[in-house]
Each structure stands twice: as structure tokens, then as C-alpha cells.
Symmetry: C2
Subunit: 347 residues, 2 copies
């Protein structure tokens, strides 16, 4: 990393420093043409071993680093993918992002993120446009919102976009976890324990996952010929789960509750504890997501696990396929798993 100022004139003192060495500089030191250096770097075309060694030595000596802009300009490829991420610490989206980053890095792509605080048609479209201006080769939209899904309906055909978690109707490949199936598993588990019915704390109405979980819950109750209680709606936060719990605590005949995610389940547990309702003795509770803390709630929470890392990996795979000219209507579904713990345990 030694920086060599031009031997003659004054050295620029700025952090930017002097000009970075170019292919031509390396070629000069190695005594070859710039083209030979290019061939050594990219492994294209034959180069005699001694020549290669001289070139590598020169690269080392100068601390040469290829100029990615120049390369991108001539090849038309930037080696960068964009991810439109929801600005939140929600366990799912954050984990998915890491899964994507990992898979992408292994395949030699860098990841540029553009976060969106309040998703909507325009903000998602803006974020995608932003990323395209950054010259990404493809975009992954983590789009758990209904509105995000709609934004994708206008996705251009000439640019690879894939969505994770939403946009069923959009003309882009979509990968999602089977939320309905997860909700079904949780609900059936609770029904199998002999409860008359199961209450549900749903997530925000504009989240597809919230809709699907609610749908899965409702379908399951129907299939078992059980009436569905009114839905209580939260916003994924523990606070909203707590409030839901305070209101539920007043219900008589409360047997079992399926919370839309683990955070809300936590709030629920808290509210029940304050109301003197014992879980699982008086009421059984299940959540969704299996955040790492769920096993240590009071009591440990039965929940539905989603493998977000896998989701991220497969999302990248879908995008790679799409960039290769693949189908715009590819779909992939990841199946969740029920994790049973004490919150639905024996009484």
C-alpha cells in the first residue's frame, strides 16, 4: 500500500493522493504492453510464465488495483446487484439480506443497498431507479408490503428484478415462504390440543405476510368447522402485542392465541402475565418467525420457523437465472417448520 509520489514535483497533500497506477504504468515497469498486463490479470489469452511473473511483480510493486469504472465502461458489466431493503430491524428482512449478500459474494457480485422507510408504489420504484442509476445489473426487492407488490407490477421487462416475500401478481420472479402453510401448522397444532377455537393477532393490513398468515389461520378454522373470533390487529411490535393482550385478557373463553409474529407474542405474554393469566395453563400461545430469543421467552414460545438464509440464497439464485434470460414468472416457495415449546405445552 506504499504510495509513491511522482519523484519530481510537489506531492499533493490531499487524502485523495496522487493518481492511482494504471495498466500502462504496470506495463512500463514490467517492460511489456498494457495488453499483456490485462491478459495476466484476467487470465485471457496465453502469456509466457516469465512474462507473467514480471507482470505480477510490477503489479505488486505499484500496488496496482484495476479501475472498475473503466472495466465496467468497456464490458458493460459492473458486477453489482442492488437490494431494496426495508429500513427496519425486523428479524426476517435483515436475515434475508445477509443470505443474499453471502450468495452474491460467492458468485462474485457486490451488493448495493437502498433502504426504504415507508414502502409504497413510488418509493420502491424510486429505489429501483436509484439503483439502476448506480448501474446495478439486477435488483432484488424485499417487498413484504401489498403496496410494494403493486409497485412491481410495472416492472420493466428489460431489466432483471426479483422479489422476495411479495408481489405474487407481478411479472417478476418471486420467492416466498409459505406463510399460509405456516399459519395452518400453528393453528392446527393449537386445535389439536383440544381448544374450541384459536384467536389471532394479525400483523399490519398492508403486509402480505400478515394477510397470508391470517388467511391460513382462517382457512384452517373453517376446515375444522370452527368459528373464527374477531381478528385483533397489531403492527408487529411487542407494544402492539401487549395492547392486544390487554384487550384479550378481558375475553372469557379465551383458550389459544396465534400471534402473527414473535415480537407480538412477547407483548401478549407480558400482558397475560400482568393480568394473572398463566401460559400455557390458562391460555396457549404460538408465534411466528422463531427469532433467536423465542426459546427464552416466559414461557418459551411455540412458533413457526422460517429459514431466511435459505430464502436469501434462493433469491439470489432466482435473480441469477433471470439475468441469464430466465423466466419472468418463476416462483419459489420455502416451507416453514413448526417449533413446539412450552407456550403450547402440557398444562
Amino acid at each position: 500500500m506504499a504510495e509513491r509520489p511522482r519523484s519530481g514535483g510537489p506531492v499533493k497533500a490531499t487524502a485523495a493522493g496522487t493518481r492511482q497506477p494504471s495498466l500502462t504504468d504496470v506495463a512500463g515497469v514490467a517492460g511489456v504492453s498494457h495488453m499483456t498486463v490485462s491478459r495476466v490479470i484476467n487470465g485471457t489469452g496465453p502469456v509466457r510464465p516469465e512474462t507473467r511473473a514480471r507482470v505480477l511483480a510490477a503489479i505488486e510493486e505499484l500496488g496496482y488495483r484495476p479501475n472498475s469504472a473503466a472495466r465496467a465502461l468497456v464490458t458493460g458489466r459492473t458486477g453489482t446487484l442492488g437490494v431494496v431493503a426495508l429500513e427496519s430491524n425486523l428479524y426476517g428482512p435483515a436475515s434475508t439480506l445477509y443470505g443474499i449478500e453471502n450468495a452474491a459474494r460467492e458468485a462474485g457480485y457486490a451488493i448495493t443497498i437502498s433502504s426504504v422507510s415507508r414502502p409504497g408504489r413510488s418509493s420502491i420504484a424510486d429505489a429501483v431507479e436509484n439503483l439502476r442509476r448506480q448501474a446495478v445489473e439486477g435488483v432484488i426487492v424485499i417487498a413484504p408490503h401489498v403496496s410494494a407488490g403493486r409497485a412491481l407490477e410495472a416492472a420493466p421487462a428489460d431489466f432483471p428484478v426479483v422479489a422476495v416475500g411479495g408481489g405474487e401478481a407481478a411479472p417478476v420472479p418471486v420467492i416466498s415462504v409459505d406463510q399460509r402453510d405456516g399459519a395452518r401448522r400453528a393453528t392446527e397444532h393449537l386445535l389439536a390440543l383440544g381448544h374450541r377455537t384459536v384467536w389471532h393477532i394479525a400483523g399490519p393490513e398492508d403486509w402480505l405476510e400478515a394477510r397470508d398468515r391470517e388467511l391460513g389461520w382462517r382457512e384452517t378454522l373453517e376446515r375444522h368447522g370452527v368459528g373464527a373470533p374477531r381478528v385483533i390487529r397489531g403492527d408487529w411490535s411487542s407494544r402492539s402485542g401487549y395492547e392486544a393482550g390487554r384487550s384479550l385478557a378481558k375475553e372469557k373463553d379465551l383458550d389459544a392465541v396465534f400471534a402473527g409474529n414473535d415480537q407480538m407474542a412477547l407483548g401478549l405474554l407480558r400482558a397475560f402475565a400482568e393480568a394473572g393469566i398463566s401460559v400455557p395453563r390458562d391460555v396457549r400461545v404460538a408465534g411466528f418467525d422463531d427469532v433467536p430469543e423465542a426459546a427464552y421467552f416466559t414461557p418459551p414460545l411455540t412458533t413457526v420457523r422460517q429459514d431466511f438464509i435459505e430464502v436469501g440464497r434462493r433469491t439470489f439464485g432466482l435473480l441469477a437465472g433471470r439475468m441469464d434470460g430466465g423466466d419472468r414468472h418463476a416462483r419459489a416457495l420455502v416451507v416453514p417448520e413448526l417449533i413446539v415449546r412450552e407456550s403450547t405445552g402440557p398444562r
Copy 2:
């Protein structure tokens, strides 16, 4: 987003599509030189209003998007910053990332992330090198590890790198939360409640935050003339907190525990509940971080809040300063805040 195939010849069917329009194409349509188009886009130099309108119309018509590689090649600026992020869902690092992304976006920079699963000297250096190859203009290293700090000691002087949360001794600007002060606040709060001493569940030894919190705890005990119990070490996870709790439950004279983070505090609460130890009646517990769920633990957790969004913002500020030729030894400290809840409440 309407795509218009060239009216005459066959349309290439690949996802890559036909060549993107260039400045020259726009110039042709608008009947001006490519330079005038460039001036309209960048707002450099004077352009007559009618001309500008014609150019803008042509841009719109062709769906022109500037080629960022070409621009970067000639200006030497890419408008991209790199972030070396720890691959984890830990609340702190993830929140910091969003703070950074927000501040950067407002300033017109894009963020490229390079995640690192097991930080060490070389992996951090590799990640930075990776990002430099992506031609980022500066790098932010989220470096909570001791080893990460050491990696930064070799940071080159000619390239702007800043660290968040670690690398005190490194020749790079550092921003951190005053962990020692936070630990002092929590420990003093517990001592002020009349406890003889305070136990501590420390984070992993190679985390700077863990060291500093432990140090702050130990200093505070010393200053109050109180002997420090042996340190129990966890790994930030609820599981490790749970195990610590199981071992602590056997201690007699157990009064107060300061957990290194909220997740471990959760595990601790769980272990105590199983052991029939009531919090706060038998033992008082405090955590660190104030994750959004902490207020809904059983019981709600007293903890030390860190404003990670602020940390992210100031980190970007420090990097921006450094890129402007600022000091390599700038430091910024964010002061945390004690949030008192029931886990250290009245008995």
C-alpha cells in the same frame, strides 16, 4: 419505464436488451451537441431555456440514464461508500447500518456492503480490499471486535476509512458509544438500590464493547469499595444468558446482576424463572442496548439505551470529514442513557 425497441430492425430478445441510449443519442434527438446535454444534466454552464426543454424532452423520450461507469472513469468519483458489516442480526450493528445508509443517501452516496462472518485481521482487511476494488470512495468498518481494531492499525493513510465501535488505537477516525459510562450507570443504579455487590454477565472476550462494559462495571464497584464477583462470560446470545443464569441461581447472596446485553438478560430472566427466583423481588437485573422488546420482557428490563441511528449518522459525518482531508485521529463519543424498568423496580 416504457421501453421502445428500435423501430426498424429485429429486437434483441435477451434480458440485456438493446444498447442503452447515450448522451450522443439524446443529442441527436434534441438537435444539439452531446456537451449541451451533459450541461443540462449536470447543471454546469448556461443553457438557454428552450434548449434545455428540448434536451429534457429527448431524455424523457429515449429513457436516457447516465452511464455511471463512464462518469466515474472521467471524474474519478463513484459516489459509493463501502460498509464492512458484521454478518449478524445483532440489534446494534444492524441499526447502525441503517443510520449510515440514511445519512449517506441524503448526501448522495450509495452504500455497498461487504459482510464478514468471523472478523479477524485478515477478513476485515480482505473486506476493505474488496470494497476498494469496487471503487468505493471511503469505507466504514463496523468493528466491534478486538481483532478488527487491530486490523485497522494497518489502515493506509491514502484512503479514507473510519471505524465505528472499535479500533481506539488505530489511525482512523472512530466513533463509539461510551460503553464504560453506560456500564457505570447501570452498576451504580443497582448499587444505589442497596445491593452489596453486582454480578456481571460479560459478552465475548474479543468484543470491545464487552471489555468496556466489564471495565465500567469493575471500575464502578471499585470506586464504591465493593468486591467484584467472578465474571461470567457469555456470547451475547439468550442461550448463554440462560446458562449463566442456571449457574448463578446456585449462588447464595445473589442480589443484582448486570447483563452485558438484553438478549443475555432475557436468558437470565428465563433461568431465574425456572429456578423459582423472582425478579426484582429476589434478584434485580439490568441489561444493555434497549432492544425494542426489552420493555416487554418478564419483567420489563432496566437497560442502557444506545442511539444507534445517531451513531450511524455521526459515523457518516466522520467519514465525510475524512474524505475531505480531515484528521485521521478524530474521535466521537455517543453517550448512552439508562432506562429504568421493573426488573430493578421496588420489591
